[in-house]
């Protein structure tokens, strides 16, 4: 790592740490006047503490909104560069991009092109998604030849059968309801708890300026 990159990494880490700690304490102290006890201007103090987080989070919203420009620039750059290697679909994408902008500008914000082309294509793909999911379910036993794979398939079969409107399958509905209410709900909560713990550790790493994005 060069000297310039090293200084840049240190600066990034310092800025990340300063902003992270400021936002954290601003959110903690600014949102609760009770923390200032019986002070006569507790509300005003809480409001002042809340200000840094408010300003910084507004900045985030602006930056996030601007990032769409980066995305579009990336899309155009990638596909223009692919044109040189004769990629037909890139030419179609660029032509569609230009035509859609021309249509939108000349027709004063008319979105009928989006509704007539984009939505039917997405709906068709959504239908295809159903087939992919069904196929994926059928392939589970090929990929996971163990007790958990078998259990996965058994649960899927029970839930699917129970959702059929047949009187003969009524007893299965109680099983299906129990499966969804108890083991599925418990598993989902356990996974969400794990993800939340992971997010805390990742957040603290970012707060300490030790995430890869800040290390240069």
């Amino acid at each position: 790592m060069g000297r310039g990159a090293g200084i840049g990494a240190i600066m990034s880490a310092i800025i990340a740490f300063a902003v992270g700690v400021t936002v954290m304490f601003s959110l903690l102290l600014g949102d609760n006047p009770a923390l200032f006890g019986d002070l006569p201007d507790a509300d005003e103090l809480a409001r002042r503490f809340a200000l840094p987080a408010d300003v910084l989070l507004r900045l985030v919203v602006i930056v996030v909104a601007l990032s769409i420009v980066i995305g579009i620039a990336n899309l155009l750059f990638v596909h223009v560069s692919r044109l040189t290697s004769g990629k037909f679909y890139s030419a179609v994408l660029l032509a569609s991009f230009g035509f859609t902008i021309y249509w939108y500008v000349t027709r004063q914000g008319d979105t009928s092109l989006l509704e007539a082309v984009q939505l039917p294509i997405e709906s068709a793909l959504a239908a295809l998604l159903f087939l992919s999911l069904a196929l994926g379910g059928a392939r589970v036993m090929g990929k996971r030849r163990d007790i958990w794979g078998l259990l996965f398939v058994a649960v899927v079969v029970v839930v699917l059968l129970a959702s059929l409107p047949l009187a003969e399958l009524a007893p299965l509905r109680a099983w299906s309801d129990w499966l969804m209410r108890v083991p599925v709900s418990a598993g989902a909560r356990a996974m969400l708890l794990g993800i939340a713990l992971g997010m805390v550790v990742a957040g603290v790493r970012a707060l300490l300026g030790q995430d890869r994005a800040f290390r240069g």
């Binding site: 995305g71 990336n74 899309l75 992971g198």
Partner: protein
């Protein structure tokens, strides 16, 4: 719990995590032992295959984006991808990094630039607007799977059911796949269809398992510690509740059950 207490507990939790991270780094420098995560074993093979076959790896963030609810997923994915890119660094074909969140584009480009020393990465970060239900992103990635013929795919970030389209495309072309999502529908699809799967929080620990050195493996242990503490707390609460409900259940029985459950948990943890 009132608001002030909740805030104090939150602050303490964050400070305890900071302290644990430094303790884990100190301990890890002396004892480099980690539990095994089965889903990550294939990565070395895929990196070697990418180098030998001169085909890129495809790394996908999905809809994980900076400044959104799943910022941590995007950062964890970037850390993970950085180490994976380093493993395939001797090859000629730069990895492709895709995302459907525009805010992830700079992060993805930066990850690629740092990890891939040979340069030529500017067109390898690809943003596909996701549209409704991310179907547009899935369709575009399926196109990449067809045109670029990656050697393998790692989907680590935020995905919904649309992951099925991408995994199906990869599977039909015989390309390996590893998937993990912070969304439950995407996680279910990953379990059913991917060759390798990480479960939930393993996304945040994955980087620590690709690289043996440095701070990342130690940070993964902090998550394991919190999780173990959470399991122990929940088990204790469950047993105490049961003890209150069932008069015949004595305190020694609760203690013995707790010990047995902790032992079983430790055994499962060591075996993984």
């Amino acid at each position: 719990m009132d608001k002030t207490t909740l805030q104090a507990v939150s602050a303490l939790f964050v400070l305890a995590t900071v302290a644990l991270i430094y303790v884990a780094r100190y301990v890890h420098a002396r004892r480099r032992t980690q539990r095994q995560i089965a889903g990550l074993r294939a990565i070395s093979g895929w990196a070697e295959q990418a180098i030998e076959s001169n085909r890129p790896l495809h790394l996908a963030f999905g809809s994980a984006g900076i400044g959104e609810d799943n910022t941590a997923s995007a950062l964890a994915g970037a850390e993970f991808f950085h180490h994976v890119i380093g493993r395939a660094g001797a090859g000629d074909a730069a990895p492709i990094v895709s995302s459907s969140s525009a805010t992830t584009v700079p992060l993805a480009q930066d990850t690629l630039r740092r990890g891939w020393q040979s340069g030529g990465t500017l067109t390898r970060t690809q943003w596909f607007p996701q549209g409704r239900r991310s179907i547009g992103y899935a369709a575009a990635v399926s196109g990449v799977i067809e045109s670029e013929r990656p050697s393998a795919h790692i989907f680590a970030g935020s995905f919904g059911p649309e992951l099925a389209l991408m995994l199906d495309s990869a599977d039909r072309r015989g390309q390996g796949s590893l998937a993990v999502s912070d969304q439950l529908p995407g996680q279910a699809v990953a379990y059913a269809m991917a060759d390798g799967v990480l479960i939930g929080e393993e996304l945040f620990a994955a980087a620590g398992y690709v690289v043996a050195e440095g701070r990342t493996p130690a940070d993964a242990r902090v998550m394991d510690f919190w999780r173990a503490l959470l399991i122990a707390g929940m088990t204790a609460a469950l047993l105490l509740e049961a003890a209150g409900q069932l008069p015949w259940l004595s305190w020694p029985a609760v203690a013995v059950s707790g010990l047995i459950l902790s032992g079983l948990g430790l055994l499962v943890y060591r075996r993984r």
